[in-house]
Symmetry: D2
Subunit: 334 residues, 4 copies
C-alpha cells in the first residue's frame, strides 16, 4: 500500500501513519516526491479494508498495490476451474450453451422449448420459477410448480437445468430441484443470498450487477466461495449505459479481464443484454469469439405470447441456426 | 399506449395488434405517419407489462403514454405524505437531519456520537448493526448487540433511530428495536427484502440503487407500499458515474423529479455520495437548497479509527457547524 | 409525432398545439388515454426540431415516431454503401484491417511498421501526423513531415493510408497527402471540422465520440454527407463507462445497431478501446464476429519506446498471429 | 511515480525500468509487496506522459503520485483567480448571473430579453450567434448579424455579453464583438479551438464536456492558459448519465472538487443540464449553495416560439423570482 501525505503534513502525522502500519505487521519505507512524503507499507488488502487510511490526518491519497487475497483469484489457483452441472462441464474448453425461456409459464411451453433446444444441441436448460420484476403487479413466476415442470423436462430431455433464486429462504427449495442455482443481476450484491447459496453444494451461476465493476463482481463470487462453495460461473449480461438502442451495454471487455483475474468460467447472456431479438445472434457470436466459456440464450416457442421478456427470445428455429454459427466461431478460434 | 408498426407490416399484423388490444379492453384508433401505421390503444401500464407488444410480428416500436397506476405516485395521492418516525416527522416542511456513525462499533463510540449530534440538533440517530460489505473478510457489524446499544442511545438522548436490514429473516429483529428500517443501495432491487419490510409497520428509508433510474427507484418503493406499508422515505445517495473524484455522482436532479412523480418525502445522503469528508458540507447545503426534506450525515468521534467509511465522517464539531449552515439555507429557500 | 397533454391542460392549450401542427402541414388526430388528451400529428423530424413542442403550455410529453430523413439512413438508401480508399474497398463483405502506429514518430519507425503490417495482410496503413492530446505539454505529432513519411511508406508498400485531422484549416493539407481522413473521438461533435471534411472528396473515417449515443454518431455522419461527401466509414472505439479495467467500454452492440440504421460501413478500433495490449486480440476477434466490416489495430515495432499509446500497441509478430485469427473468424461467420 | 512489477518480472526487466527513470533524472527506490517489486521514482506528470511505462516488459501497473505541473492548478497559484468581463468580476465572492436566450433569433427577441434580465439583476448577457446543432438541417444561428444585435443590446443595457465560438476561423470575429467567448460542451476537447481562444485576450467561458472527467476539464483549461490567456471560467453543465428524467446529470460534486484543484472561478448552467424548465430553479439554488461563483440561466420572452432549447428557458418573470431566491441562498452561505 502506498500512502501519499499532503505537502503540509506534519512529522507527527507521518509518524502516526508509520506507527499504525507497523502495528499491523507491515514493513515501512519512506520516499519523497515533489515535496510530498510517500509512505510505502508492505501489507495489503485485508489491512487496508480495516483501517480507514484516507481519514488519517495529513493523508492526501491512498493507493493499494494489489487486490489480492481472494480465493476466486488467479493468485490463489492458477489453472482454470471446471464447474460440473449434472453431467455437463463448464470451462473445459467446450462451448456450453444454456437455453430456454426466461420464465416457466406452463408445462406445454417449457416441455416444447426444452425438447427443441436439446435437439439443437444446448447443454443446459434455463427457465425461472421465481422472477424478480420491476413492478409488483406483474407475473412473478409459478414457484414450486415451475420447478416441478423443469424437473419433468430434465427427465424427458436429459438436460440439467438452472433456475433463479431470489430469497435466501427459498435456496433449499430451489436447490433441491435444480442442478444449478442462479443469482440474478438485481441480487449480485445481496449478501444474505450470496452467503446462503455458498452454504449449499449446487453450482452457482452469478450474473454481474448492472452497475458492478469487474472487481465488485469478483468480490461477489468471493462471498459465495468464502462460505464453502467453489463451483461458481460468472455471467456478463450488460451494464447500465447511456445509449438507449439496446436494453444494456454488453461489456465483452469484461470477459478476458475476468478470466485473467479469476480462475472461474465466464459466460455471456446476450439475450438480456440486448432486450431485442434482432441483435442476439451477432452478440452471441462475439461472445464466443471473445473467449467466453459459453452463452445463455432466451428461446420461446411463441415470443408474442410470452409473459416475460418476449421481445428478446429467439424462436426455436432461429436458435438452431444460431447454434451452427456458434459452433463455427468456436472452431475458428480454437 | 402507442404502437408503431414497421413500414412493411402487413394488414394481418396490424389486425393482430388491434385485436389483442381490444381483447383487454382498450379503445383503439389508428393513424399513419411517414408510411407507418400507428396504433393507439387507451389502456396503460399494467397491460403493457403483461403483453410483450414489441415482440408482436410487424411491431417496430412501443411507446407508453404514462407510467401511471402506482400508489406512491402523485396521481394516486396528490398531497405530500408525511412520515412519522417516533415523535419526528419527515416531509412536513421542516428540515430533518439524520446523523451518526456509519456502523455501531462500540457502546462508547455510539453513545458519544449520539449525545453530540442530539446537542447539535439532529432529529434522528443513524448507526448500523448489520453492514453489507464488498469483501466477506471485513467487519460485518455487531448484530443484535449493536441494536441494543442503539436502543440505549435512544433512551439517553430521546432520538429515534434508523438501522439497516440486509436479510429478510432479520426484518422482525431489526424492526423490534429500530424506529425506522433502512434498505441500503445494494438491496434496492432485492424484492424479497422489499416485500418483507412492506409487511411490517415501521417506516422505511429506501436508498436509491447505484444504477437505478428515478423510475426504478419509485418502482422499488411501490413494492413496499403494495405489501401494505405506506410510510416510505426515498434517499438519493449518488449514482455510478465515470468521474473518480468522488465515490459516486450525487444526482440532485433526482430530488425535484422524484418529488414531482411521487408524494413521498425525499432525503439526500451526501456522506456516502462523496466518500470524502471535505465536500460533504457543500453537498449537504446543495441538497437542502434543491428542496430535499432532509439529509443523512455520517458523524464519528474519531474517523481515523472508524471500522467503516471513516474517510467520509465528520467530526462532531464539524457537524455542529454544518447544522448552522443547513438551517440558514433552509430558512433562505422557505 | 405524438404529443401528450397534461391531465389538466385546457381546451385552448390543446387547440394551440393542433393549430401549430396544422400550420406546418401535419394531419392531426386526437385520442384520449387515462384522462389525457393525446395529439397525433403526421409530420416528423425536421418539424420537431424547429418547434419546441415540449415548451407549449399544457404539454406533458413529446414522442417522435421516427428519426427519419437522414441521407446516411437506411430509409434513404437501403443497400450497403461501399467506400473506396485508394484501391481498397470497405464494406464489400471482405474484412478490412487498418494497422500501424498511433503516431508517426520517425521515418524508421513508420517504414518498419508499414512493411511488416503489409506483409501480414493489412489493407490500409494508419499513423497520425497531428495528435490531439490531453495535456498541452506532450508530443503533438510531426505535422507535415509526418505526412511525407506516410506518403513514402505508401509508395514502398502499396498500402493507402489514413491520417487524423484536428483543425479545419489543416483539412486541405492532410487530404492532399492521405487517402482517407480521420475524425477522432474528441472531434466527433466538432461541426466546423465535420463540415470541412464534407466539402472535400477523400473518404472520411468517423470515430464515435466517447459519450455519443448511436443516434448522435449517425447525426455526425449526416453533417459530413450534407456537405456533399457520402464516403463515410463509422468506427466504434469504446465509450465512457464506470469500469476501470480497460480505458473504455467497447460497445459492440453499436455495430449491428448502426448497420441496421445506416447504409455506411462500420469498423471497430479495439486498441484504443482497450488501452492495454493483452485484450486487443480477443476484442478484435469479437468485432469481426459481431459483423464489423473491419478493425483498426495499433502496431509498433517497439511499444516501450512509443511516444503515444504504447501500452496498447501490438508487436508486428503479435499482429501477424492476430491476422490469422481474424481471417478464421471472418470465414466462420460468412 | 509508483511502478508495480509483475510477480514474475525478471531482474533485467526491473533494471530497465530503473535505468530509464534515472536517465530522466528521477531518484529511484525499490520496495517489495506480496512478492512484487515496487519501483518508486521521484519525477512526475510530464515524465509519465512521455514514457509509456505500462508498456515496459514486466510492468503490471503504473500509479502517478500527482497530476501536478499545471498553471491552472492550485499548486501553481494558491489564491482564487478573479476574471474580469467588461466591468464585471467573476470569482470575487459576489454571485454572478449570466442570463439570456440560448440563441439570438431576432433583434426584438434579444433586446426585450436583455432589458428584462438587466432589470432583474443579471450581470452578463448570453445569446449565441453561432449554434452547434445535432442535426445539420436545423437553425444554426444568425452569425455576424447576431453579434451586432448583441452589441446593440450591450449599448442599451450596459451588460457585457458572452457568445459561443465553434470554429477557430471565427475566433477573431466573435472576440471583436463579445466581452467573453464561450467554448461549448461539444468542443471542450477541440484542441485547435482551445489554442485559438488561448491566443487572444478576451476571457473564456469553458463548458465541461458531456463525458469529461474533472481532470480532463481542467486539462482543457490548461490548453487555453498554455497559449497565454489566463482568464478562464469553468462551467459545469451536466454530464452524460443513464437516467432520462432530465437531459443530463448535473454533477454539482464537480464544483467543490474543481475549486479545490484549480484557482479558476467555477459556474453552473442548470438550464442546459436540466433541459426542462420546471427544475431549473431548484438546481440553480443548489448550484449557489454548493459554492459556485455564479450560474447561467436561459431566459426567453416566448419559450413556445424559441428556435432553440425553448423547453428549458424561463420566462422573464420567472427569472426575476429566481434571482430573489438566489440572492437569499448566497446570503445564507456567506
Amino acid at each position: 500500500m502506498i500512502i501519499v501525505m499532503h505537502p503540509d503534513a506534519t512529522e507527527a502525522e507521518v509518524a502516526l501513519v508509520v506507527e499504525r502500519l507497523r502495528s499491523v505487521g507491515a514493513e515501512v519505507s519512506i520516499t519523497t516526491d515533489d515535496g510530498r512524503t510517500v509512505v510505502h507499507g508492505s501489507i495489503e488488502t485485508l489491512l487496508q479494508d480495516e483501517a480507514p487510511w484516507d481519514s488519517f490526518p495529513g493523508v492526501e491519497r491512498v493507493m493499494p498495490v494489489l487486490r489480492g487475497g481472494r480465493r476466486v483469484g488467479r493468485e490463489f489457483k492458477s489453472d482454470d476451474s471446471i464447474v460440473r452441472v449434472g453431467s455437463v462441464q463448464i470451462g473445459d474448453g467446450e462451448l456450453c450453451v444454456i437455453a430456454g425461456p426466461c420464465a416457466v409459464e406452463s408445462r406445454d411451453q417449457l416441455i416444447t422449448t426444452a425438447e427443441s433446444v436439446a435437439q439443437s444441441g444446448a447443454s443446459i436448460l434455463r427457465g425461472d420459477a421465481f422472477k424478480p420484476r420491476t413492478s409488483p403487479y406483474t407475473f412473478q413466476g409459478l414457484g414450486k410448480a415451475g420447478l416441478e415442470i423443469l424437473a419433468e423436462a430434465r427427465d424427458l430431455t436429459g438436460l440439467p437445468f438452472v433456475a433463479e433464486v431470489i430469497d435466501p429462504r427459498d435456496v433449499e427449495l430451489v436447490a433441491s430441484y435444480a442442478d444449478m442455482v442462479r443469482i440474478g443481476t438485481r441480487n449480485m450484491s445481496n449478501q444474505a443470498l450470496l452467503c446462503e447459496v455458498g452454504r449449499q453444494p449446487k453450482p452457482v451461476l452469478l450474473k454481474r450487477g448492472r452497475a458492478a465493476t469487474v472487481e465488485e463482481w469478483i468480490d461477489a463470487a468471493e462471498y459465495v466461495h468464502s462460505e464453502g462453495n467453489p463451483s461458481i460461473v460468472l455471467v456478463e449480461r450488460g451494464v447500465r449505459g447511456f445509449d438507449t438502442s439496446a436494453r444494456n451495454t454488453l461489456d465483452l471487455t469484461a470477459v478476458p479481464v475476468a478470466k485473467k483475474e479469476t480462475h472461474l468460467p465466464v459466460m455471456v447472456d446476450p439475450s438480456h443484454a440486448a432486450g431485442r431479438r434482432d441483435i442476439v445472434g451477432p452478440l452471441a457470436r462475439a461472445a464466443v469469439a471473445v473467449g467466453a466459456d459459453g452463452v445463455l440464450i432466451d428461446v420461446h416457442p411463441n415470443p408474442a405470447a410470452a409473459l416475460v421478456d418476449g421481445a428478446q427470445a429467439l424462436l426455436p428455429s432461429e436458435f438452431a441456426t444460431l447454434m451452427d454459427q456458434l459452433r463455427a466461431v468456436a472452431a475458428a478460434i480454437r
